[in-house]
């Protein structure tokens, strides 16, 4: 048996302690299904999971670093649950350093909570450590004190089996965190939100699932102004189902950076909205070439979280000869249509957002010098079916243009067109560049 006891860094009996213990237990359930809340600590038995998490040392290291972010003061390891708890309270991390009996005997007797009701009596008997209690005659102890004392001692020493009420994994994830201080800036919420994200990712790992959307809600504290309202919320969506803490917290912090809080915040809640089973990549026996870094999807998501989704785009091509409508741009996160069109005529590689009207000299258009027409005209006409509402009046986007490939000595190969205007007039426009 390989038990860990996780002790929170708060004094026991605090009102929010129970919530935090449940949250910690939810996070711990990703390591093992055998997680129990004992007194004011979370105990978990991980012997069967050691290989999966890379061995004792790796698991201990992970529990220590992630636990510290969740508010765990100390994680102690021992062969029994009560033993681990006793070590944790005595501030000893490794209960395996010496034989269990020897290690426990040295601890002060207050480390077991069953001792508390009998502490004055035991103290008058001259007991200071657990070893002192064990040296008392067993029959006398069982007659003089209640049976819980001996029972708990035996369970701590591993003489008697212990019975636990295992924590169950909730069906949905919703975790609350009361902040110990008022937060006035949205970025500073990340400190608390990261703790909740760790819990959520633990929950997702235990359910073998990933999330594509989660909501962070915050409640304004009681000293708020009347106009501020009760609180606010922020939903973060990801392109693919994931439970990568690093990615989710980067996304959240990008989103929080753009959020403004109306009033100081005292409490946070995190809810996993969209959850789906996630297929994991199995670990390989051989050291494969692992691609370092994020996937493109993740990094684009992060960039679009900062710049805005409309500024990270992919092209979608349509069957239209008019250049303005030959393609449009969709946010990169959205799914693209499967079919693509292919119009196989010469086309420029850059287009101007708006055609640029060119000056004309000697009936020749000018753009950084006189243009030399090379090939054309290439007539593009159509669009009478394309009706748009333009300031109340209906208009069609019909075009009738003669496109030419033109060469400028300074600006390269250009795609210009001539269009008839009203009054038999014609004008030249620059529309694209063959770069």
């Amino acid at each position: 048996m390989y038990w860990a006891a996780l002790l929170l860094d708060k004094p026991p009996g605090d009102a929010s302690t129970h919530d935090e213990l449940r949250g910690l237990a939810t996070w711990a359930l990703q390591f093992t299904p055998r997680v129990a809340i004992v007194d004011d600590a979370v105990c978990m038995e991980v012997e069967a999971s050691l290989r999966l998490f890379g061995g004792k040392r790796a698991l201990q290291e992970r529990v220590r670093s992630e636990g510290a972010e969740l508010g765990v003061a100390i994680a102690a390891w021992a062969p029994t649950a009560l033993g681990a708890l006793a070590f944790a309270r005595a501030d000893v991390e490794n209960g395996f350093a010496r034989p269990l009996q020897e290690g426990l005997d040295r601890l002060p007797m207050e480390v077991l909570s069953v001792v508390e009701p009998h502490r004055p009596t035991l103290a008058r008997l001259g007991c200071k450590t657990l070893g002192d209690i064990r040296r008392l005659p067993r029959v006398g102890v069982s007659r003089r004190f209640d049976k819980e004392l001996l029972g708990a001692l035996d369970q701590a020493y591993g003489i008697k089996p212990a019975v636990h009420r295992w924590e169950e994994l909730p069906e949905t994830f919703s975790a609350r965190l009361e902040l110990g201080f008022r937060v006035e800036q949205a970025e500073a919420l990340m400190f608390g939100a990261r703790r909740l994200l760790l819990q959520m990712c633990g929950w997702l790992a235990a359910r073998h699932a990933g999330t594509a959307a989660f909501t962070l809600k915050w409640a304004h504290d009681t000293m708020r102004s009347k106009t501020a309202g009760l609180g606010g919320e922020l939903t973060v969506r990801t392109g693919a189902f994931t439970r990568n803490v690093g990615h989710l917290s980067r996304l959240l912090s990008e989103n929080l950076a753009k959020t403004e809080l109306l009033a100081p915040v005292g409490e946070l809640t995190l809810v996993a909205v969209d959850v789906e089973p996630l297929e994991e990549v199995s670990a390989s026996l051989l050291p494969d070439t692992v691609r370092q870094g994020e996937t493109l999807c993740e990094v684009l998501e992060r960039i679009s979280a900062r710049l805005g989704p409309d500024r990270v785009v992919r092209p979608v091509m349509t069957e239209d000869h008019r250049i303005e409508w030959a393609q449009f741009w969709r946010p990169a996160a959205e799914k693209l249509p499967r079919e693509t069109s292919s119009i196989d005529v010469p086309q420029p590689s850059w287009v101007l957002p708006e055609p640029l009207r060119l000056a004309v000299r000697n009936h020749r258009p000018l753009y950084q010098g006189t243009l030399q027409m090379l090939a054309g005209p290439h007539r593009i006409e159509g669009g009478w079916w394309h009706r748009v509402e333009d300031e109340g009046a209906e208009a069609t986007k019909q075009v009738a243009r003669d496109y030419w490939v033109a060469l400028s000595e300074h600006a390269g190969v250009l795609w210009v067109y001539q269009e008839r205007l009203a009054d038999d007039d014609a004008a030249w426009f620059l529309h694209g560049i063959f770069a």
Partner: protein, 275 residues
């Protein structure tokens, strides 16, 4: 002792004293094993980078670049007299290979709107193309750095007209972990500034369907002269007549004549496509 237990394989009978011969005379040297030969760098040769490269598509250019192509895991600067002049003509053949391998091309802050129907002629594909519209210099740098660090895109093309020396050095350090080529397009004025990019080229277009590339900086000796690389953009080769293959002559004629209508559009080759 040494005679009975030779530590090294017995040397062949006294080889001709190589040292005494003039080193410049290559033919006098005994041929080295190919592996040794490959590992030796002579000062007259181009430096060979340790990383992989993407071939540029022109043998002429490949032979001048260390490693024979655009380097991966490093930053390459392309300097142009004005933006949107010949980016795709220069990079197209290399990008075609990357796209064919299923890699995504990401462009950051291009000067104009990329037009995919035209870019398809350069081998790009709408499925493997992402446009990040970063406008301010700070945004461009941030996006470029994030993409370089993530090592997720097949090739990164970024327009950084205002990047400073130390910012480029930072990108170059990050790029050592990036498996694809990182191409930065910058104005020609930047050629006078120092840069951390190991490869810097200037590119302009020639009137007669060619690109003029000069390598400003590379690992190896100075590059003299200009490379003239044939290049016809955007599927135009289908519509060019032999006369149009040398537009410089047309322009010269026009200037000589300087008469109205001497080379009117009417004379140019026609090809109509009705929409």
């Amino acid at each position: 002792m040494q005679a009975s237990l030779p530590l090294w394989p017995v040397a062949p009978p006294p080889a001709p004293p190589v040292v005494k011969q003039p080193l410049a005379d290559d033919s006098a040297l005994p041929a080295l094993p190919p592996r040794v030969e490959a590992a030796i760098w002579r000062a007259t040769e181009l430096g060979t980078p340790v990383t992989e490269v993407v071939a540029t598509g022109w043998e002429q250019l490949d032979s001048e670049l260390p490693g024979g192509g655009w380097p991966c895991r490093s930053v390459t600067e392309v300097l142009q007299a004005q933006p949107s002049l010949c980016e795709w003509r220069l990079m197209g053949p290399a990008l075609r290979k990357l796209v064919a391998a299923g890699q995504t091309i990401v462009v950051v802050g291009p000067p104009k709107r990329p037009h995919l129907p035209g870019l398809r002629h350069a081998g790009l594909d709408d499925k493997h193309f992402v446009w990040v519209q970063a406008d301010t210099p700070a945004e461009r740098l941030w996006v470029t750095e994030q993409l370089v660090k993530s090592n997720a895109c097949g090739a990164l093309l970024s327009w950084l007209p205002q990047a400073r020396q130390e910012q480029l050095r930072r990108l170059q350090v990050c790029a050592q972990a990036c498996e694809g080529p990182v191409i930065l397009f910058r104005p020609i004025a930047a050629q006078h500034e120092a840069s951390a990019a190991p490869l810097r080229v200037t590119a302009t277009f020639g009137l007669d369907w060619e690109l003029n590339v000069h390598i400003l900086k590379r690992k190896g000796p100075r590059h003299e002269g200009v490379l003239h690389l044939p290049s016809i953009p955007g599927g135009l080769e289908a519509v060019l007549t032999p006369r149009l293959m040398t537009p410089s002559r047309l322009i010269a004629n026009r200037e000589r004549a300087d008469v109205l209508g001497s080379a009117t559009p009417r004379q140019a080759a026609r090809r109509r496509v009705h929409a």
